[in-house]
Amino acid sequence: MQIAVLSGATTKFGELWEQSPRSLAQEVVSQAIEQAGIEKKETQALFVGNMLAGILGGQENIGAFFADELGLEVPAVRIEGACASGGLAVHQAVLSLLTGKYQTVLILGIEKMTDYKPEEVAQALMAAGSDEERKAGLTFPGLYALMAQAHMEKYGTTEEEMAAVAVKNHFHACLNEKAQFKKEITIDDVLKSAKVADPLKLLDCSPISDGATAIILSSKFKVQSSRDKPVFIAASAVATDTLALADREDLISLKATKKAARKAYQMAGLGPEDIDLAEVHDCFTIAEIMAMEDLGFFEKGKAGQAILKGETKIGGKGPIINSSGGLKAGGHPVGATGVKQIVEVFNQLSGQAGKRQVKGAKIGLAHNVAGSGALAVVHILSNL
């Protein structure tokens, strides 16, 4: 069975104080339905990726909440998997299509974060962490800083290499109308920004954001003309690891990413060398470096230099990483992020990425991580 991405739409990411979760959902779902060229009633199920509506907004039961808002009387579920809620929602939607029970489903990734105080959001996000680490006062910048320190010690990774991730992703974001930070920055800007958790500085960290993204997947699709380039889900894989960083085998890679990637490559019959572009989970700059290596694009310890040389920037030899601006500059509304990654890969593979189009892109990958690597979702999309 082939599963096609019929459409993908995303709101602007950022401080959307004028918009409610309801209006964000309406905006993206109506666009996705229109782009897909289907009637709303043709969608048979709704999968909502969201992490914080309960803990911050006091609204649980949001599968039904959004089905009601969108006027969809269909089975609706909320899928929570921390920052990978969006990727997991796509995975569950794919599984539902594979059962044959549904033929066309809607996935909504959504998060509203900036209406709350930063300390409330930081505390809520730590709901994705382990009890012990939370109680010890660790937050995600702290956890990723520990990984950065280990990576620096083992491979000689430098702060400049990490900064190059942010510089590249800000450059890409300038080409993306929907990105939160459409502003170019320099390595020096990153190095001089405020320390958050040594060695991570403010500009090494992704922001908190509001945003929503919707896609429609279908196993029942028609190619309208020879010019149409359908985009298929070639693989959808999930893997887990320990919740606590302290329990990991090592701090220099995410085992969940490696496992999910291995499964996804196997499912698609492809390898890392086949990937033209990827949206990876750069919640912190070190996370992109580790993802490059764990996804097999570079040998361990070599990704930092490649990023610094511009190999993964649009126009570089590839694979092109985070053409949307990633989480770092595109924004990171946690439940929406994993779905937005699919939208970006879909737009690239269907030739709709405008100024940031990666020429000749045929195969793309999306990599979404929960917490400090407790869970990872990898999707591979293809237009072949």
């Binding site: 401080e15 104080w17 004028e18 900036t114 209406d115 105080k117 930063p118 405020a194 320390k195």
Partner: protein, 345 residues
Amino acid sequence: MVGIIGYGAYIPKYRIKLEEIAKVWGKNPQEVISSLGVAEKSVAGIDEDAVTMAVEAGQTALRMGGVSPSKIGSILVGSETHPYAVNPSSTIIGETLACGNNYLACDLEFACKAATTGIWLTTGLIESQKIDYGLVIGSDCAQAKPHDVLEYTAGSAATAFILGNKKNEVMAEILDFATFSSDTPDFWRRDGIRYPAHAGRFTGKPGYFAHVIGAAKKLFQKSGTEPSDFDYCVFHMPNGKFPKRVAKILGFSFSQLESSLIVEKIGNPYSASSLLGLCQVLDQAQPEAKIFFVSYGSGAGADGFIFQTTKNLMKKRRLAKKVAEFIKNKSYLSYAQYLKIRRKI
């Protein structure tokens, strides 16, 4: 014509450098200073509060106005740090300034714009011939919770204005007015809670900028003016960046704004912030100067005024100590001394 016939400012002599506060909390001082555009803030002494500072400013305003205190028909005091929750500041101030008993006394609260609302109310009382002279005070001994970002800017100061309508007394005529209000909870303090809370970056675009720009545009439209018609512009100064940014958005040049900027050396003395900027402009302006002024109060609202100075300004202002002199007269505190005199320890 209703206008200002006397004004007075008061800034306590104590200062704390942002560097001193930043070091305590492990922050990079240069980053804090450059991100806020403030280098130091004024701190009231251990025996000072919004009322004592108001009296200091009020005395100066009365002296400059040349009006007998007994002729003051109203005293409106804007502050968010009135010493009492119940028991008016305005009567303590009226009694101390010997204003007799036949004045309308009222305390006002609207975050940082309470006093500018008082100017408009007093203008109405004078225009409707209910009173001849009114005293309006903006005074705050701004509170900030230790380690809150507000701690870097919450300052102390007072301003006082005597309003009247006699041509030979008015030094700055009020030519026009516009206001802009909405229910925008960007900064608040509930009853019984010691320190205010705020909604971080939300205080910017939907708070300060939406309301200041809203009032300013209405004022331009109502008065048929544009930025180039003015010699000076004055805006509320919660930090060093917002007034510069809003002036630029509205089309004013930095030279029109520069004279009013007291925030770098004083911080944000809430109700006295924009009015202290106005005092500093009045300290420097020539007759017939046009001043565009917009305050801002969280919650939220902004009051815009157009003032035009008269020839009376030159002679009268000699009677008061200039804002610049208050700014220069200072004594630095350590963080521990600051905690002590503000009774935080």
